[in-house]
Symmetry: C2
Amino acid sequence: MNPLDKIKPRVRELKAYTLSPDRASVKINQNENPWDAPETIKRETLRRIQSRAWSRYPDFVPASLHEKLAAFAGWRADGVVAGNGSNELIQATLMVTVGEGRRVLISEPTFALYRQVATVLGGEVLSVPLDGELKFDVGALREAIEREEPDVTILCSPNNPTGCRVEHDELESLLAATRGIVVIDEAYFEFSGQTVAPLLYAHSNLAVFRTFSKAMGLAALRVGYLLAAPELAREVGKAVLPYNLNAFSQTAAEVAVELYESELKPTVRRILQERERLYENLRRVPGLAPVRSHANFMVVRSAIEPKRVFRELLARDILVRDVSGYPMLKDYFRLSVGTPAENDKLLAALGDIFSEEGKETMNAE
Amino acid sequence: MNPLDKIKPRVRELKAYTLSPDRASVKINQNENPWDAPETIKRETLRRIQSRAWSRYPDFVPASLHEKLAAFAGWRADGVVAGNGSNELIQATLMVTVGEGRRVLISEPTFALYRQVATVLGGEVLSVPLDGELKFDVGALREAIEREEPDVTILCSPNNPTGCRVEHDELESLLAATRGIVVIDEAYFEFSGQTVAPLLYAHSNLAVFRTFSKAMGLAALRVGYLLAAPELAREVGKAVLPYNLNAFSQTAAEVAVELYESELKPTVRRILQERERLYENLRRVPGLAPVRSHANFMVVRSAIEPKRVFRELLARDILVRDVSGYPMLKDYFRLSVGTPAENDKLLAALGDIFSEEGKETMNAE
């Protein structure tokens, strides 16, 4: 008797999640905010947490956080669901919609979790590639929607890892074409200067996901949220476990929302300035071609094999993301925008690596 | 077009989770540790958290917590999975094993989540009632296993809400009878003075769930863990989302394990003393019949309708759990063991309610 026989074959075939255990002092591989959460946010969070009983369950529904998020997002509190990272809300949304015979449309390359979860749940994944400029191919997406009638369509906008975004009129044309649910993962919306949240008022089949792990500077705390019509939010909520959000993370998220304008928005502005500076400087490195991005990261086409660039940077204490295994991105690596000092180190290291390469190439000739 | 048409019918039929929003100063409705986490644990946790970057993701796998839990439980670290409450691990275990055509055996009345999650996942739930003394009917469970060949069998031991437990020889007879996976939810094992964890060495189809929400005094933080053979733990881990455990909760759990003997075990001993005192005193209240329990709670049979006892206690600022809607428990309510002062208040209030009832009954005669 082997108890593993009781594991579903689809799960057994799945590779277990792994992440390279590499460490470096310049860590620009996970699109985190390079500045730690401001001291004012940390201090106020710890003050509130200390005075709370840790032995007591958190709120059954984190109503006070939902209300603050509603005000922050310009949406209604009964259409908000907070979760243990937006990953949990992606999973919950797919759990209530996807099973055998259901179809999920995505645009690739994108965040890998959509395909993974939809597959575990027994759904069929339909994929439309980005266009030649690594942007959404909205015409092809609309055709796929009309032809395949997917139950759920998921776009990450700005898209991880390419940084492209879907514009309002484009999204409206997709919403008009589908009879299914459309999910826009806005994990990076703060860096793009726009949000599709206003479209929620006219579209009861739209769901918007957000996170505290990027601009909000709280990746350690695992908080995400969903915005949708109250009826849809309630159905997704059925697949969210009771007490899914711990009291610490709920508190930190409330403080971060309260202090966003004064404490966090300035870091977003600095990241955007640095993104432009990085882009302009990377363009000037022979052998590198950065791709304009609406997020706090960008992909860079590299004349040197990305795996080698990854290793050379790691040898210089810099950790980027090798995305060369993604569809269409064989020649690319991804970097998050760091602090000015981190970006200086990155530019110096890349200048170094690519000028040596130039010399080697010349010597070989 | 109604986007709710895309929600699975099984989910639409499900009632959304709710919890009565009642509040009282004596809160004995959720089996929490009535003493808050000790100051030493809070202080050390906050010290470690403050010096960490909140903007950075937690560990991909919380290896240091897994190692401490392995030492604490007498099991191997590669057979430990920590999660966002044991609820998440229950869900993950069922996600990788249960779908259409799969059978889950439980013994009722018990914790409602097993039936709920198995049902959402499309499994068939088989239920064996407790015996007339509200104890596990091991003979009937064994017969059900032999007859129905369930894929998964789940027992909560000590059982919520009745407090009965499965003995080692009984569990071994069930493990020998089944070709499926057997889950023992040990949320309350610290109060029972025994654990089935040593049986993990001989049984690769056994999984043990535990929590930090009861004896460990950290319900606010949502930490649970699973102990199983490494091969089984790895498969369950595939349904656990990456970064499921936030850095705060991981830190608090590590500190609690480190300081368990000196800081938390004394509260467990006091709870056990109070459990005995409560039991003896409740026995003497005419109209009440408490049931002996191996956990930090007990059910009490009541000559007055439980819903009325619940309301009368709430009017006296005491919140218990009305379990009269559970199978077999029409005449019962459940109470958690509180602090000595809380238990005194409870006993006084129940004495009051049941003596008034006695008078009313006499007046009516």
